[in-house]
């Protein structure tokens, strides 16, 4: 994919979604793209699986459908490691970016980029969910099963989500992206509880392993624009990738980031190292024969996923945290994604014991400074 905005080659629309407002909005935004009405979504999805690279094939088209079942779920995290206590809203599935390490290549049964059009159901479910959790601090975000903003020029979902969450003070709502698709964000009125966050990496990894994604510099520039508009921003160094000379490259990214963005205005940063289920290994090997990232010293962790040997992870995390602190980020709340107690204690000096502890820690920084 080019680093320009995503334009689907063809849009398939489930018949029952045809009259939904979001479908109409998508069709208006995509302009002259061929469309096809699908009577039998299951049969349609099955047929598409017979392709030499069904993942790549899926990244070219768009499927508009309705979601049955729950929109809001606890972040699955991973067994045997400390959870993040986060809730995910599953709206768009799959992503036109083509990152070598992406778990979606293995995780989702259908590979076509899918837009969920029955948003009326989402709002209903959110009302019930928030009512059930009133009085509790919640972190909720999209971006688990697809990039939060990569389709935003087509769906404009960010406008509706920001508008919905703006008045929910007990919720920290996060949109996670690798893109610079921020037009709808900068046009929106900022809110204290909305965080726009970027997944960052070293420039070398961004160039070699994150096909279609903007450069690290472009992402940082986009974050600065969003920050200048009054929003909070967050950053996710995930997956950190180990290679000879990684220290200097990540240091450069962190220096550039904290040289451009006032650390006091950063809501949080998360750290996670490369990890994936063994079955993703062969998918990556087949789809990206040139990548070397899967051949480093990876062991089977307690959750059965492949991850770097613990001393390697520890060394990486200590280095990254040192770079953050040396560059003025001493007060930025940091947390780990899918790590164990020893890593938390040795790198950050504490371990979240109760569910609310991480919430309190991450929201504390938001309360400290003014928008």
């Amino acid at each position: 994919m080019e680093k320009a905005e995503f334009v689907p080659r063809k849009v398939y629309i489930e018949k029952q979604s045809l009259t939904l407002p979001l479908t109409k909005r998508v069709l208006k935004n995509i302009g002259q793209v061929p469309t096809e009405i699908i009577d039998d979504p299951q049969g349609f999805l099955e047929k598409r699986k017979i392709s030499r690279d069904s993942v790549e094939h899926g990244k070219k088209d768009l499927f508009i459908t309705r979601k049955k079942g729950e929109f809001i779920k606890p972040c699955p995290c991973t067994p045997q490691y400390i959870g993040c206590n986060y809730f995910v809203i599953n709206l768009d599935l799959n992503c036109p970016l083509d990152c070598t390490y992406c778990i979606l290549q293995h995780y989702l049964p259908d590979t076509i980029i899918t837009i969920t059009a029955n948003l009326d159901e989402l709002w209903k479910q959110l009302d019930v969910f928030l009512h059930q959790n009133q009085g509790r601090s919640l972190r909720i975000g999209t971006g688990e099963l697809g990039d939060s903003l990569v389709l935003d020029h087509i769906t404009e979902n960010s406008k509706d989500l920001i508008s919905y969450f703006r008045n929910k003070p007990n919720v920290l709502f996060e949109l996670k992206t690798k893109t610079v698709n921020i037009k709808n964000i900068v046009d929106a009125e900022p809110a204290q509880n909305i965080v726009i966050s970027w997944s960052l990496n070293s420039s070398r990894i961004a160039e070699s392993e994150e096909e279609g994604a903007p450069s690290v510099k472009e992402r940082i520039d986009a974050a600065k624009r969003v920050l200048d508009c009054g929003f909070r921003v967050g950053f996710h160094f995930d997956p950190l990738i180990h290679y000879p000379g990684y220290e200097k490259d990540y240091k450069d990214t962190i220096e550039n980031l904290l040289g451009s963005i006032d650390p006091e205005r950063i809501a949080w940063m998360s750290l996670g190292s490369l990890r994936f289920p063994p079955s993703l290994h062969s998918i990556i090997q087949e789809r990206f024969p040139k990548t070397k990232i899967i051949y480093d010293e990876m062991i089977k962790g307690k959750d059965g996923k492949l991850r770097y040997f613990r001393p390697l992870r520890l060394e990486m995390y200590k280095n990254i945290v040192r770079f953050i602190k040396e560059n003025g980020g001493k007060n930025i709340p940091l947390y780990f994604c899918m790590e164990g107690e020893s890593i938390w204690r040795e790198v950050l000096g504490w371990i979240p014991r109760r569910k609310e502890e991480l919430e309190d820690y991450l929201s504390s920084h938001l309360g400290k400074t003014n928008v």
Partner: protein, 315 residues
């Protein structure tokens, strides 16, 4: 289709276009033929004045071994090669299991005879118990490029799909160099050696050939006192160390501390898998109070040794 008695020499056995069975033993078939004769005649196709064997390779080859000059056959006259091949395919499918290399040959032949990829995936892959993906079709078809020696070894050792898939990544020379290492090992160890070789080669930009011809490997191969299995196992450990250098260094340090402390065999001190957790585990068994006290006392003494602290540096 007609049935007739045919001179075996009239069948062109060099033409293997429709063959689906390979690397079999003829002994049982020969015994059967001796005892009860040929009950099911093979199938041949007559085209352009040539008789080509379609199905019944084992039967025909066993007849030749028994020096029979004629045998009963069914004869068809079919121009369409794909149609002829389907006779062979379905007859074999109904009566036996195909091995991995046979499945590969069948899929390659279906493609060569012009069957559409989509039809092969949707119709034939499930009949062969293969997942319906294009990637599986491509992988199986690639297996037909192995040398005859490698094909035979794969079949005789009943190698798994995942191992053969890795083997297909290597050059023909590398595959042949590997055979003597793979053959003595069981399925899991075979897969481990292949996976580790591939990964070390990719990570370090060294060819598998260079890894297999390295001085370390040569030294093990040339140790005359070792059996083929011991050689294969030693080389497997060597590649495991190369695949996990940091972990292996930790493991060696851990083992050397225990050795230095002369840690008693009856009390087992173990680290978590891959040192993923900080905790260590002590295990011992006891039959009575005295036995228990003795072990506790030994542990107490061990824990007061200076070297014991070295273990906790590894967490």
């Amino acid at each position: 289709m007609i049935k007739k008695q045919l001179e075996i020499k009239k069948i062109n056995l060099k033409d293997e276009r429709f063959r689906t069975s390979y690397h079999f033993s003829l002994q049982k078939m020969k015994n059967s033929l001796k005892e009860i004769g040929l009950l099911n005649p093979p199938l041949v196709n007559f085209q352009d004045n040539h008789l080509t064997l379609v199905s019944g390779w084992k039967r025909v080859l066993a007849c030749i071994k028994l020096s029979l000059s004629t045998l009963p056959v069914y004869v068809i006259e079919e121009k369409d090669e794909l149609e002829v091949f389907l006779w062979a395919f379905y007859e074999n499918l109904a009566t036996r299991e195909f091995n991995l290399m046979e499945k590969a040959e069948i899929l390659a032949k279906l493609k060569n005879f012009g069957e559409q990829e989509k039809r092969i995936i949707s119709h034939y892959l499930p009949l062969l118990d293969i997942p319906q993906t294009l990637s599986h079709l491509d992988t199986y078809v690639a297996f037909t490029q192995f040398d005859a020696r490698v094909k035979r070894a794969i079949t005789e050792k009943n190698m798994s799909f995942s191992s053969v898939k890795i083997l297909a990544e290597f050059t023909s020379q590398e595959q042949n160099l590997l055979l003597s290492l793979l053959l003595p090992l069981g399925q899991n160890k075979r897969k481990e050696i292949l996976e580790n070789l591939l990964e070390i080669s990719k990570r370090n930009d060294i060819s598998v050939k260079d890894l297999l011809l390295s001085d370390e490997v040569k030294a093990i191969r040339n140790t005359e006192t070792l059996t083929p299995l011991q050689i294969a196992d030693k080389i497997r450990f060597l590649f495991r160390k190369k695949k996990y250098p940091a972990f292996s260094a930790w493991k060696d340090s851990f083992d050397s501390v225990l050795k230095k402390m002369k840690w008693p065999e009856e009390i087992m001190l173990s680290h978590s898998p891959f040192f993923e957790e900080e905790n260590f585990t002590v295990t011992f068994s006891f039959a009575n109070k005295e036995h228990f006290k003795t072990s506790i006392l030994k542990l107490k003494k061990l824990s007061s040794r200076d070297e014991f602290s070295d273990i906790f540096k590894m967490k």
